[in-house]
Amino acid sequence: MSSLSTNSEPSRWAQIWNSNIAYSFRRNPVAVVSLLVFAVITVMSFLAPLIAPFDPYDPAQIDIMNSEYPPVWVDGADPLFMLGTDDQGRDLWSTILYGTRLSLLIGICAVGLQAFLGISIGLIAGYVGGRIDSLLMRLADIQLSFSTLMVAIIFLAVTQAMFGSETFNQYAIYFLIAVIGVAEWPQYARTVRATVLAEKKKEYVDSARVLGFGPIRIMVRHILPNSLSPIFVISTVQVANAIISEASLSFLGLGMPPSQPSLGSLISSGFDYIFSGSWWITAIPGVVLVVLVLVINLLGDWLRDALNPKLYKG
């Protein structure tokens, strides 16, 4: 395709390396460190079955007698458990690895679902306009004013009450993905719609219409590629939000069950022991959660500055 110009053009990699975005990334130590930390956390958590010394889901490996050992740097620790154990005697290090994996998985899948819903709805609302747009955006406004967390809490509370906790716990991960994915669609849809509206006004869209191209071709081939920057930024921020939402729901007992804990449920189970001095059951997963969310937010911040779309949380 570009055979005419391959000689004069620098290679693809060099182009990417020299692009504004790569330049601003290299110049921003916070972004570099954040990406590194995020990569380390992600890789370690997904390799949990290989790295973790224990399997927290295997009841045979759990001994209640081992409960509430502190981390190794505190007196009274058992060197077998690097970060100590929780109230049920599970190795905290292994449980955190598995829990982080769950939190990340739920966060990313939920955002995938959000993105799918939000981008399709946003594109349609923005491109088609008129009544469909007004209706969809009113719905989005109303849904947004109820806040994701509220919708999720009520939905999960009713589901739990309806199915009973046993069935609920079994499918908790799917419920969480579904509810966080569905409840947050307005954030995406509004952002996508706003960009689509801005892009639609530009003359290249008119030009495509005058050339006779169909609406789907125009939406997917012309408008969508130009709306990607805000979608990237919001996706990053939304992963962080989804992880927080998941943790909050699990903390309330409406998410992952203690037998299969995510970071949120781990913190929740530790909270009962905080007054008795077993701070680590809450604190260590708490720190992991905050660091994970923080690096994603920092990356999102950098991306927002680098791509410079006008975007707000809220």
Partner: protein, 326 residues
């Protein structure tokens, strides 16, 4: 303006209608009122009779209309657990939650505007960088963790503040007992309010900063400088008013989020408000109370959002023409 108001009120009614439908659907599907009334030991025939008597065999529409009619008269059913009208149970808990929201709102409004404006005016000062750094950390800490951290530090380790409950409240009238009238009340509400504000405050600081920085780039600010207007007047008269307009809209949306976060805060601090009650109701499968909570909270959201929209319409001089059409 009048048409705008009518439009907003109509919309509010439509939303309440949808909420009541959802509430009714939950009530219809969740739990069996007969079991709560008569227990397991009654024969099937008696049950059928009771069902007829209670109207449980009527069509969906009839049952909904009865539900909605009762709801309009303030009858949201009777709590299984408290054996009291659900609305009363909630109204008793409402002031505690509202005071928490008010406390957090004071913190948010009082801090976010000056701090946001400062960081926008001096984006490169060390203090601004520090604030921005802290704010992103603030956004990244979930409310319940902030709450736990504060309990651990200020209650468990130092013992400066109590870790749970409302403490000494002063009766005002009706169901309203206030925390703001006694020292003990203040010391109890401080930590929960800060915890509740902790995620919204950085969000608002960042929002105000972003809006303000954009406004400061605008032509009319440049023009004001070219007229020789003093900087403080440019910042606080020219820029701040334009900054706060979009913030008001976001603020309206965030009230909903704030009420949702009260559930988390109240759980951690065992604050005897609606949120705490709601979680208990969920655990007890107290269906009427769950539904009543949904409807009351929905009502609060709708009312506040409508008010915020109207305030926006009143404050923004350009809204009359622009908004009426759109």
């Amino acid at each position: 303006m009048f048409a705008y108001l009518v439009k907003r009120v109509f919309q509010a009614i439509a939303v309440m209608f949808v909420i009541s439908l959802i509430g009714f659907a939950i009530q219809d599907n969740l739990g069996d009122p007969l079991r709560e009334l008569v227990g397991q030991s009654v024969s099937e025939e008696v049950r059928q009779e009771l069902r007829d008597e209670l109207g449980l065999n009527d069509s969906f529409l009839t049952q909904y209309l009865r539900f909605a009619g009762n709801a309009l008269q303030g009858d949201l059913g009777t709590s299984y657990f408290f054996k009291e009208p659900a609305l009363d149970v909630i109204l008793k808990k409402l002031p505690a939650t509202l005071e928490l929201v008010v406390g957090a709102s004071i913190i948010i409004i009082g801090l976010s505007i000056p701090v946001g404006v400062f960081t926008a005016i001096y984006p490169n000062s060390i203090l601004s960088r520090l604030v921005m750094g802290l704010s992103i950390i603030g956004i990244s800490i979930p409310v319940f963790l902030t709450a736990i951290l504060m309990i651990f530090v200020f209650s468990v380790e130092y013992g400066w503040f109590p870790s749970y409950g409302r403490g000494d409240v002063v009766h005002v009238f009706g169901y309203w007992d206030t925390n703001f009238a006694s020292l003990d009340g203040w010391s109890h509400i401080l930590l929960p309010s800060i915890a509740l504000a902790s995620i919204m405050l950085p969000l608002f600081i960042r929002l105000i900063r972003a809006e303000m920085m954009e406004v400061l780039q605008s032509e009319y600010v440049k023009y004001a400088k070219a007229k020789g207007i003093r900087p403080w007047r440019i910042y606080f008269v020219h820029a701040l008013k334009n900054t706060l307009l979009p913030v008001i809209t976001v603020g309206g949306v965030q009230i909903g989020t704030m009420v949702a976060y009260t559930i988390l805060t109240e759980t951690v601090f065992q604050w005897p408000g609606m949120g705490f009650m709601f979680l208990e109701a969920v655990n007890r499968v107290d269906t009427p109370l769950i539904v009543a909570y949904l409807i009351v909270v929905g009502f609060i959201f709708v009312v506040t959002n409508t008010i915020v929209d109207l305030i926006y319409g009143l404050v923004n001089p350009t809204v009359n023409l622009a908004r009426m059409g759109a």
